[in-house]
Every structure is written in structure tokens, then in C-alpha cells.
Symmetry: C2
Amino acid sequence: MFKKAKQAALQAAMLSLETRNRALLMVANAIEGNSQKIFKANHKDLLAAEKKVDDAVFQRLKLDENKMRAMVAGIRDVAKLADPINHKLFVRQLDEDLTLFKISCPIGVLGVIFEARPDVIAQISALAIKSANAVILKGGRESKNTNETVLEIINTALEKLDQFPPNFLQQVFSREDAAKMLGSKELDLIIPRGGKELVEFVQNNTKTPVLGHADGICHIFADASADFEMLKNIVIDSKTQYPAACNSVETLLLHKDFAAAPELLESLRNAGIKLVEKPKSWSFEYGGKTLAYRVVDGLDAAIEHINTYGSGHTDCIVTNDAPNAEVFMDKVDSAGVFTNVSTRFSDGFRYGFGAEVGISTGKIHARGPVGLDGLTIYKYKLIGAGQIVKDYADGIKKFHHKEMK
Amino acid sequence: MFKKAKQAALQAAMLSLETRNRALLMVANAIEGNSQKIFKANHKDLLAAEKKVDDAVFQRLKLDENKMRAMVAGIRDVAKLADPINHKLFVRQLDEDLTLFKISCPIGVLGVIFEARPDVIAQISALAIKSANAVILKGGRESKNTNETVLEIINTALEKLDQFPPNFLQQVFSREDAAKMLGSKELDLIIPRGGKELVEFVQNNTKTPVLGHADGICHIFADASADFEMLKNIVIDSKTQYPAACNSVETLLLHKDFAAAPELLESLRNAGIKLVEKPKSWSFEYGGKTLAYRVVDGLDAAIEHINTYGSGHTDCIVTNDAPNAEVFMDKVDSAGVFTNVSTRFSDGFRYGFGAEVGISTGKIHARGPVGLDGLTIYKYKLIGAGQIVKDYADGIKKFHHKEMK
């Protein structure tokens, strides 16, 4: 199965943009046309899951008309995005008739491990088709019927396109197969989408690169000059607009000279936020409406707190002092550093990436929300006319390194 | 020590290009001015190593006037290269007064593990200073005196620049400290430079991302239409110009219709190459003048052989058939795919990167020869005017995603 995926990836890398976009539209149509079949499979999963899983899991598992419409629209949106592969990142003439091309290309085979969210299959499949990366999917067992049905519909649609390689999108269900994914040499990148436990389990049990994040410990620093109303709105939005999201704020840092701190805390309480002054840990992700807060001596102390306890996800300063904002954004070592704006904006769709495979807090390859660009790497193509290195080593010839683009 | 390195990295990220370039020139001058001191330390290492190490190791350990000149010139060259950090990779207005900047920045703390080659310290230090990445170095124990002396001279020069953070370049010597490097959470990237055993040991013993390559199994495919003289020269250069290099060729694949195969093999033998028709393994790196060869049915068979047995380093087709060259370069899944040119060109200096920290056969982050660009990542800076996500989720406001650059 892994070897087949690799074969499919190598073939898919040759597909034209037109073919890949056509495939996306065919997949969107097929899902739309078979929505009743998908709802039926989902209903089966829901019946089996009822009373066994908590409400949040049940809600994520459940497909409704809205989610279905969003799924189909999402696939069509990906078809509209620019091609992430076959870009000439540079063209450099090393010498006469010796030209180096740096060309973006797919990574190869992705392993995506996710919890019981059937809409994720369509989203990942769309990004995979567009970026020509083969995928092995492993979804939560509660959504097995839905996942099987959705992927079968997608693959039946792809089969109609002669050029599309078989085994481009495959799926496993058992824990044993998931363990094999983690050990496979054919996988180039593993993307776990889910809670901290899932991500950490994957990180600790594979030698393959992992893209994602275990924690979202986001901060807002209220500088002395922060505008009261703006600060209040930003903190409330960052905490309450979707408290379970990874880009929700967990800690509010208050400059000791921010005068309106008591009124601010009062307003936050009124908005339903539970404030904690002495949390057991400054690195805890509440996931609910709890917010830790701390009074700090100033900008440097805030930056140090964030770089010490944060998770490198998204951190914000609210200030009227432009130089302070600049220092904050330079010194805070996070994927997203924001000024005067809710931490909840840290998201592929809001950034204009169209869709995302996840948000990375790593500092290698891709960081922050990861869209199509994060699913590419590059290769160097060198075209010569028989040149040998000996001539350059002996000084008979010299490189001239002329940029052509 | 790791925490100090992280502090230094955060501070170094704020240094201007001018300061970093001034630091490089001061370091170059200091090494030049203290060359006798360095030779003395190196002499001590050479005395201790004599008769204990083989000749290749001894030659790498030995610093002479030529290597010293190259070291100093290399540092000055890095000062001339373009700044790899603080680039605006894009600027996108998400909405009025809400602008997203994607800015290149240093990775953080690098761990570089290398064998007894004292010139590597200067090269890595120069790349680290330019890219504002702090480094912890671990060199081969045979070069301890030289390494200590060189780094002391570099750090004394850096101390004269007030702005330069202390502990930016640190060094460890013992195996225990190296083991701590592999387990440190403060290290963002580990770069092993050395033989297959060293690289594989590092890969198997750390959770930190590793950049490098264990194998260099490079191929040349002689297409049916290959020009005899060109092919002969390219194979001889790729195998003999520096047989121990990772970009030397290990396997020659001959199209069954390449008519002059017997004459070619004869020429290769005359050039001192030992030919092997039935090697024990097609994935063996000889490191010497041995070359495996195989007759294949055609282009597809050659590509399949390479994608099966190769290491994704550098592979070349020699052909007069342009469409075949194109298919080869698209389908071979290697960092370097060459047409009509020696595999030995796969190198940071020859590619025009000025210097390299190594060559990556991974497909994440950086691939092929890795120069300054491979030592950077990016952060997203978002500057707003109090925007909250609720307004966009509720449909009161809409993103317009306008590219500004």
C-alpha cells in the first residue's frame, strides 16, 4: 500500500494543472450528487456513536446540509487557487550552456491522521489533488462508514480521469495500520490533526517529519498605552469566539502601568470569562472560557514570559506605541505575532490561503497556517552541454552565476 | 548552555545586516591575524593523531596555508552575500487596516556535529552569523585543540562588537554533551556533517529535525542517443574527480540500444575505474573508483531503478533526446536531476550559494545543497486596528485579500 502510494505520487507529479483542476471539479460534483448516500452512511456512524461519545465529538462527527455545502464549496475553491507546483523559484546560469532551475514540486506521500471529522477527508483530498501529493488517510474509528463512503465516491470520480493514477488516495482504519504508517519509509510527511495527545503520540512514535502543533498557548499583552475598548473587544473575541480553537488566548499579560486593569477584568468577567490569577501552570491550554492573567513590569517581561511559557503559535500586543509593537513582533518567537487584532485571525482561510492542512508551531519547513505552499518542496534541475567539474577545479573554466529570473 | 544559546538567538535576530557583516569581517581579520596560533594548536592535534588515524582523516585534520586562506576568504565571501532574513515574502491586506506580512527570520539554535575538520568551524560560524542563528558545535575529538583555539579567536572578535550577544557560538567536546544536544528541546535543527554512520546515529537518536544525508547513491543514465565523448567525459569526471564526495556517481545505467557500450566500458577502465556488473547491492556507496553498471531496457526502466535504489541525491541523464531529458528530470525523485553534465556539480558553491551547511536528501524544509536560505524560516506579522473575528464570522465584515507585494 505504501509502495503503491509512492508510485502514484511519482505519476501524479506529472499531471497538468488542468487535469488536477478538472479532477477537483469532478470530485466536487460527485460528492454533491451522492450527498444522500453520504448522509446515510453518516447516520449509521451517528447511531453507533450515540451515548458512547461526548457531545463535542458527536457534533464533529455529524454531517449536515451546511457542512456538506461547505465541503463541496471548499473543493471548488481549491480548484481556483494558483498552482503550487512547477514554479521556477529561480533560474541561474552557472556558465555558458549550464543552467540551474529551482522548481517547486510535490513532497510525495503524506500520511494524515485525524479524529472523527468526516469533512476533513474532502478537504485533505482536495489539497492533495491540487498539490499532487499522494495521501494515506487514517480517520477516527467513529466515522468509519462515512469515511469509507466519501473516499469511495472521490476515488470513483478520479477513476473516470484516465490520466489520474490509481492508489493516489488510500485509507486505513485499524490501529495496526496506523502504526505501520508511523514506521513506513515511503511516507514523506505525517500530519496529525487533532488533540494534544494525538499529536504528541505521533511525534513520539515516528522518525518521519511531523507537521502540526500539540499546544496553542496564545497570549495577549496589554501595553501601558493600550486603548481600553479595543483591548476589551480583542480579549473577549480571542477567548470567547470559539474557546476550543488552538488560536484562542490562554494568558493575558497586563503592563503594570495599564491604568484601567480593574475595569478591564470586570468587563471580561461580565463577558463570561473565568479569570485565574495564579494558575498551576502558565503553559496550560484551557480550551474553555478560562483565562489566566498576570501583571508584568513591561514589554521585555511580557516578551520573556511568552518566549518561556508560550507554544510559538500566536501572540498579540495591544498598544498605541508603534516602536513597542515592532519590538514585540521582532522578539516574540512565534509563528504569528500580532498587533491590535484578535489571536483568532491565525487561520489559513483568514490569511487567504484558501484552505489549510493544519497549523505548524515547528520552525522547519512550514510555520503557522499551512496551505498548498507547505505541501511543496523543490528540486534542482541542471541542464548542461557536457561540462565536467575538473575544468572548473583546474581553473580552465569559471562560473559566472548570472540570474536569469 | 542550551538556554543561553536560545537567548543569544533571540537577541541576534534583532541585529542589523550591517552589524552582522561587520562581525564577519572582524572574524576574518582575527583568524588571519592569529593564524600562527591556530597552526600551533593544529600541530599539537596532528602530533597526537599521528599513527592513530588513517591518512584521509589526518589530511582532513591538517590545516595548511591554503586551507587557512580559503577559510578566511570564505568568511569574507559570506559577508558579500545577500541578507537571508527580514525579507518580505509577501504582504497581503486581509481587509482595510489589517495587513499580513510573511517575513523570513532565523530558525533559532542549530546543533552542528562534524568530524575532525577544523575548517568547518569557520564556515559554519560565518553562515550562522550571517543568518543570525545561534550554534552549538561538536567537532571530532582529534581536532580539539584547533577547534578550541579557532572558536576562542572568533568569540574574542565578536566580543568587541557591543551589540553581539554572548553565547552565540558555543562548543562542546564530550560524547555526553553531544548526547545532551540530541535530547535538547532548545535546539531547532541538527546538522550532522560526516559519514553515513554519524548521520544515521544522529537521525536515530533525536526528536529534533535533522538536515543532511546519509547516502549519496548517484546515477548516470546513458540514453540510446548519448554522445560518446560527452558521456565518457561526464562519467569519468563524476567518478574520478573526487571519488570520496557524496555527489560522485555509483551506478551507470546503459540503454540497451546504446551501441558504443563496449568502447565506453573500455575507456572507463583505462581511466582507472573498476567496473562491477553484478554488485551485491545497487544501493552501495563505494567512495572509491569502483562503479557498478547495468544494461536497462530504456528510459522508464532507468527511472525506476533510480527511484528504487537511489538516495534522492543527484542523478543525471546523458542524451541527445530533449523529450527524454524532460521526462527524466520530472520523474526522477531526487534533489538534483541533471542533463548532460557531471553529477559533481551538485554543490552549494557551484550552484552559486556562496557556501553550504550540507546537502539534504530530505524532502522537508530544504533539499539539495543548503546555503543561507535553508537556515531561515518565516513568521507571520499581522497588524490591525482592533479587528475581531466575530465580525467576520457573523458576516458584518468581509476579507478582501489584496496582494500588496
